[in-house]
Symmetry: C2
Subunit: 201 residues, 2 copies
């Protein structure tokens, strides 16, 4: 679904009003029958021979993805990765409001990340409560993870977008989505190695 949402968003930006499953199939490199199956699961937006209404479909998928509502996000960890996340283009228009950046390093406090001022972790709990934060993007070193989790527990936060190399267990009420960069690079290297082995055989 996120991938459909991304492609439909691009089509919308480029002024497309309708798109056939065949055309979408070519663009997304997915079979047309897969597309019809995926999209019919969510209520059958297509009409035979007429294609999908891009804007309508985009809106319906937005509802499914929970982005017709806005989400309030803070980034914890103001290193390079934290900066990259806080300033990543395109989150805004998908309904993700970056509302704060936090760090434990006192020399960073008060510095700007885009429009946001870096705040001390000691103010994180208060901020989460006051601003209805529901997502934490976590980009700290692994040593800091436990402290942050203990702050986040029992708050309104329902999801952690985890960039640390730790497989988080944040309890039953908090969803975790992991982006393990080192694992991803190793996966690439693994595939390279497999391919090399296949060629040598």
């Amino acid at each position: 679904m996120p991938r459909y949402y991304r492609y439909l968003g691009e089509l919308l930006e480029n002024g497309f009003e309708r798109i056939s499953s065949d055309d979408l199939s070519r663009r997304m490199n997915v079979t047309a029958s897969q597309i019809r199956q995926d999209l019919n699961n969510f209520g059958g937006f297509g009409q035979q021979g007429y294609g999908y209404n891009v804007k309508f479909l985009y809106g319906e998928i937005a509802k499914i993805l929970g982005v017709e509502k806005t989400h309030n996000v803070v980034v914890v960890g103001a290193g390079n990765l934290g900066h990259a996340i806080a300033k990543y283009p395109g989150f805004d228009r998908r309904g993700f409001n970056m509302l704060g950046v936090f760090d434990i390093n006192s020399s960073l406090i008060g510095q700007k990340v885009g429009d946001l001022e870096i705040m001390p972790v000691s103010k994180l709990k208060e901020f989460i409560m006051g601003e209805d934060i529901d997502i934490i993007a976590l980009t700290t070193p692994k040593e800091a993870v436990e402290d942050i989790i203990s702050i986040v527990k029992d708050s309104k936060v329902t999801a952690i977008w985890n960039f640390t190399p730790v497989d988080l267990k944040a309890g039953p009420d908090i969803l975790v989505e992991n982006v393990h960069l080192a694992d991803s690079l190793l996966t690439l290297s693994y595939k390279q190695q497999m391919r090399k082995n296949n060629k040598l055989e």
Copy 2:
């Protein structure tokens, strides 16, 4: 495999010499039988009742992952994300040498990213050839992707670690590993929404 590699690396750092599949199971939150199955696929490193030799297993998995060799990597795109990737701790010790950072923006050329100086994209092809680069980490805006791919084609690069929001098609000789940050955040939001719907039912 990347996940096993990460856990075993941590065990090694913490001085563990042997580990049982039960202990590894608890740490990784995977069943012990799954662990035995995964690791036996790669040659049966374990001995009944005695556990795995952490160092040996780590080395064997390193070979499987292709990291007993070193990989030479350049980052193309010296924005926040490019900085984060170029300076990400722990790539070195896994055998990934970050050898260069490139950007098209002339005001960035010559600035430092850690020990590396930002170089102009016009020198990318020459650099790739001279330094035996086999992996490109791509963190440019999507508008630049096509140009970079045309530079990278017909070089020694065999893999692209792709952070752009484009689903790359780089040809049959180049592997692509995608890290779509926006898709990842949408996945999180989707899961949040599903959970909310389930609670309301």
